[in-house]
Each structure stands twice: as structure tokens, then as C-alpha cells.
């Protein structure tokens, strides 16, 4: 009994089976997600759009997924693969915690995601299963542990982001603005309180949508805001649409 849920699935022949896809297939893509440190923790956010080529497949996609009480996954890439990765990780983390009577370490969670990405390399190389996720988590076994952001390349390499990270087609614009603000901003994103960070996240998505058609923007006049989660040692907080609207009206519209 080593708490390895993937080994348990393999034992029961329930592992994912790679499908044969015709070469002309144009996979669904989900963009854009990003994360940055603010004064109180980590903000992780994304738009709601999934595209297939130049077709908008959905504008209601949930890309920020809660893996456990202190881990978040932001998905960019092919949703079919990314959602399955998230579901596998969710079950793996809970299975380990319940069977071993202790939480999995942050390092082990990061490696678990890395392994799923490596296992997905054949689909990535075929161009039908590319996933480049962001991961945010806290090492709760360390009393001093703080929220951390990690980003991955599609082959499974993992990197820590000291200030911010982004993934998906609209992330270039977002990372440029975050770099600018972190270098010359006052306050810098990492110095912002939660309210200011929430408003910034929406402004970043509006900026990305201006230059990338695959990024679904934010439309405050239509009550359309980003998906935002806030991670701290106290756990995960879902920043609801109405809360984002109230902050937007207060900070931007001056209503």
C-alpha cells in the first residue's frame, strides 16, 4: 500500500488509452491563464473561452481547477486531456491523503503533474493533446510554507515562477504587462492587496483579448468577469462574479 492511485488504476486496467486521431483533426484549445503573487497570497485567473481553429467552441469554460484544499491547476491547451489530468490529480491527492493518513508533499504533487505530462508526450507530439498548465500550491507540512507558482512545458519540465506566470495564446500580452508593472509599477503586483489584485487580473484579461482572438475577454457591462481563485495558507477562495463586479464598480467605474 503506497498510496499510488495511478498504480491502482493500472492494476485494474483502467488507465487512459491513447486514441487514434485522424491527422486532419483540429483539437479544441483553451486559453488564457495566468498567476501572480500579491501581498496576501497568489492570484490565479483565466478567461472562459475554448476554441477550435477560428471557431469559438465555448465561452463558459472553467479553466482554474481546485485539486485539493491547497492546490490549484490552471489549464491551457487541449481541454479533453487537461480535464482528465485534473481529475486524475484530484483523485490521486485525496486517495493518498486518506490511505496514508497524511497529505502529499508539494514536491510530490508537482512530480505527479510532471509525470502525467510526460505520459502525454505522444499525444503532444501528434499535435492533438498539448497541455501547458500552471500549478499553484502551498507546502502545508512546512509551517513557514508560502503559496508558490509553477509553470510547465508540454513535455513535463517544471519551473517555479518567482513573480508571475502565464500560459496559452494570450499569455504573451499578460506577461509583458506584468513585467512592466513589476519593474516600474507603483505598487508592484506583489505589493497589491487582494482587491487591487482582482481588478488587475480583469484588466490583464481585457488587454490580452485586445490582441488575441482566442482569449475571451472581460465585459463588465455584461457582468462577464474572469475566473479568479485566491490561494493562501488558509486555503482557496473563489472570487465570485458579483464580488468582482462590486470591486470593478468601486475601483474602476467609481460607482
Amino acid at each position: 500500500m503506497n498510496g499510488d492511485f495511478l498504480a491502482l488504476l493500472a492494476k485494474q486496467s483502467l488507465g487512459p488509452v491513447p486514441a487514434l486521431i485522424p491527422s486532419s483533426y483540429e483539437p479544441l484549445q483553451a486559453t488564457t491563464v495566468f498567476a501572480f503573487h500579491c501581498a496576501e497570497g497568489v492570484i490565479i485567473a483565466g478567461d472562459h473561452r475554448a476554441t477550435s481553429g477560428n471557431v469559438i467552441f465555448s465561452d463558459q469554460t472553467e479553466k482554474i481547477l481546485e485539486l485539493d484544499a491547497h492546490s490549484l491547476l490552471a489549464i491551457a491547451g487541449v481541454p479533453a486531456v487537461a480535464f482528465e489530468m485534473a481529475r486524475t490529480l484530484q483523485t490521486s491527492f485525496e486517495f493518498y491523503r486518506r490511505s496514508q493518513l497524511q497529505s502529499m508533499s508539494l514536491a510530490a504533487k508537482l512530480r505527479a503533474l510532471s509525470k502525467l505530462l510526460r505520459d502525454n508526450v505522444p499525444a503532444t507530439i501528434q499535435g492533438i493533446g498539448l497541455v501547458a498548465p500552471l500549478f499553484a500550491g502551498v507546502e502545508m507540512n512546512d509551517p513557514q510554507g508560502k503559496p508558490m507558482i509553477f509553470f510547465y512545458d508540454p513535455l513535463g519540465a517544471q519551473f517555479e515562477a518567482a513573480k508571475y506566470a502565464g500560459s496559452g495564446s494570450g499569455s504573451g500580452s499578460i506577461k509583458s504587462v506584468l513585467h512592466f508593472l513589476d519593474t516600474w509599477g507603483n505598487p508592484k503586483p506583489r505589493e497589491m492587496n487582494l482587491s487591487d489584485a482582482i481588478v488587475l487580473a480583469n484588466r490583464l484579461l481585457m488587454t490580452a483579448a485586445e490582441f488575441d482572438s482566442a482569449t475571451g475577454g472581460v465585459a463588465p457591462d455584461r457582468d462577464k468577469f474572469a475566473t479568479i481563485r485566491f490561494l493562501s495558507r488558509n486555503g482557496i477562495e473563489d472570487i465570485s462574479g458579483p464580488r468582482q463586479k462590486a470591486l470593478w464598480q468601486k475601483e474602476v467605474s467609481n460607482e
Binding site: L8, L9, L14, A69, T88, E94, F95, R98, S99
Partner: protein
């Protein structure tokens, strides 16, 4: 021996006596359905009696630690495979007990040339209200029954179990808090199981006879807890 039914029956009877003898000296565990959720309680050495199984399911058991661990792992595995391949809504106590745990216990009990599993256990599943809570008593031989009178005790001595359950049903009121419920369970251990006439005392009181240098293990399947995971460990007492 299987070809000789009388010897087989004798072997089974010997096995029952052996298991009951091994269970003597164990301390009882309780599951009590309350308006807040289901309280699971036992007295052990810390994470040795009361466990989380899945989002809404928990268990409490007494017996040999290795055997408790074996059935715990087995049910956790079955629950997670079911939750992963179907949905967390499809993980139910009725199916886990009927199709995963009970056959395993029965097989183990009746395989007379291998050692039996020495475990008496209670499983609980919290619902939206007390009426939809599920409490299941599972015996070492795989036999099980669902209890709908909101209190279950596992001890191995069935008369004492019924006595403790009736004591708790009489004393628990709708306004009784979770901490008071745990206190009443401890009192039931002292008064009924250990034949000790000690008056009820607070759970956190140092030196409660029922604790016997061990610690209180409590968990609540909290029906009001937001999110999927309802199991919360409670720190109601301290080391005696």
C-alpha cells in the same frame, strides 16, 4: 476437511470463539447521527480507530491493527476507483459494503486454513439530514445491517453494544452538542462496557477512566461543511 460438514462447522465455531477471544479487551467505537452530522468516536492511540473513507463516508473499528488497516485500505481503494471511473455521486456505502467489503470479510472468515480478519466495524455516510444518514454495523464474518435509530456501537459483545446504544438513545436530546455527545459515549464506555459507575465527566477532563492512558479519537461527518469533503477530525479531548 471441507468434505466433512461436521468438522467444517466445528472449525467455523472454533474460529468464532478465537475471534471473540481476540476482541476481548478492545475498546468500543460509536457512530451517532446528530443534526450537525455524524459523530464517529473511539478511544485509541491516535488515528487508530476512526478514519475517513471518501467525501461523505467514514469508519470506526476495533480489532487487530493490521486487519483494521486491511479493510480500511480495501474500502478506500474501492471508493476511489468508483469515484474516478464514474462520479463521486456514485460512491455509496450500500455498494461499498455489499460488493467490496462484506464479500472480502466473509471469504476471509470461511477460509479456515488462513488467518481470519479480526475486526468489528461501523461505517457511516452523512446525508442532507438525519433521516438520510446511513449507519452500518459490519461484523468480522461479513454479516452487516443498516441501523436507522441513529446510534451504533461496535464492541464484539452484542448485549453490551445494545445496552450502550439504548443508554445513548435515552440520554441524547435534539439540543445535545457534539462535545456532549462524545462525553455521553465516554460515559457509556465507563458505565456499561467497563462496568464502572463513574459519574459523567467532561471529555477534556484529565484522567477519565474510560481513556485509560489513551486518547479520544473523534471525527464529524459535517453535513453543513461546504465542498465535497465532509470529514473533519475533532480535537475534543487531550491525552489522559
Amino acid at each position: 476437511m471441507n468434505e466433512d460438514p461436521y468438522r467444517w462447522l466445528e472449525a467455523i465455531q472454533n474460529r468464532r470463539e478465537y475471534i471473540r477471544d481476540q476482541l476481548k479487551g478492545g475498546s468500543p467505537v460509536f457512530a451517532v447521527s446528530r443534526p450537525e452530522g455524524i459523530l464517529l468516536m473511539g478511544v485509541g492511540i491516535g488515528r487508530s480507530k476512526v478514519f475517513e473513507i471518501y467525501d461523505s463516508q467514514g469508519m470506526a473499528a476495533l480489532g487487530h491493527p493490521v486487519d483494521i488497516e486491511k479493510i480500511r485500505q480495501s474500502v478506500i481503494e474501492a471508493a476511489h476507483v468508483e469515484g474516478f471511473t464514474r462520479s463521486h455521486h456514485d460512491v455509496t456505502l450500500r455498494r461499498l459494503i455489499s460488493f467490496a467489503l462484506s464479500p472480502m470479510l466473509k471469504n476471509s472468515f470461511e477460509q479456515i486454513f488462513s488467518p481470519p480478519l479480526i475486526v468489528e466495524s461501523i461505517f457511516a455516510e452523512v446525508g442532507t439530514d438525519e433521516q438520510s444518514d446511513k449507519l452500518v454495523r459490519v461484523n468480522y464474518d461479513g454479516n452487516f445491517f443498516f441501523e436507522n435509530r441513529k446510534v451504533l456501537c461496535a464492541y464484539g459483545n452484542y448485549d453490551k453494544e445494545k445496552e450502550a446504544e439504548n443508554y445513548l438513545r435515552d440520554i441524547l436530546q435534539p439540543t445535545t452538542t457534539i462535545e456532549e455527545t462524545a462525553t455521553h459515549c465516554l460515559t457509556a464506555i465507563s458505565k456499561i462496557i467497563a462496568n464502572d459507575s463513574t459519574k459523567p465527566v467532561e471529555v477534556s477532563a484529565y484522567g477519565h477512566p474510560a481513556l485509560e492512558n489513551r486518547r479520544l479519537e473523534c471525527a464529524l461527518l459535517d453535513r453543513k461543511r461546504p465542498g465535497r469533503v465532509k470529514y473533519v477530525e475533532l480535537d475534543l479531548g487531550k491525552n489522559a
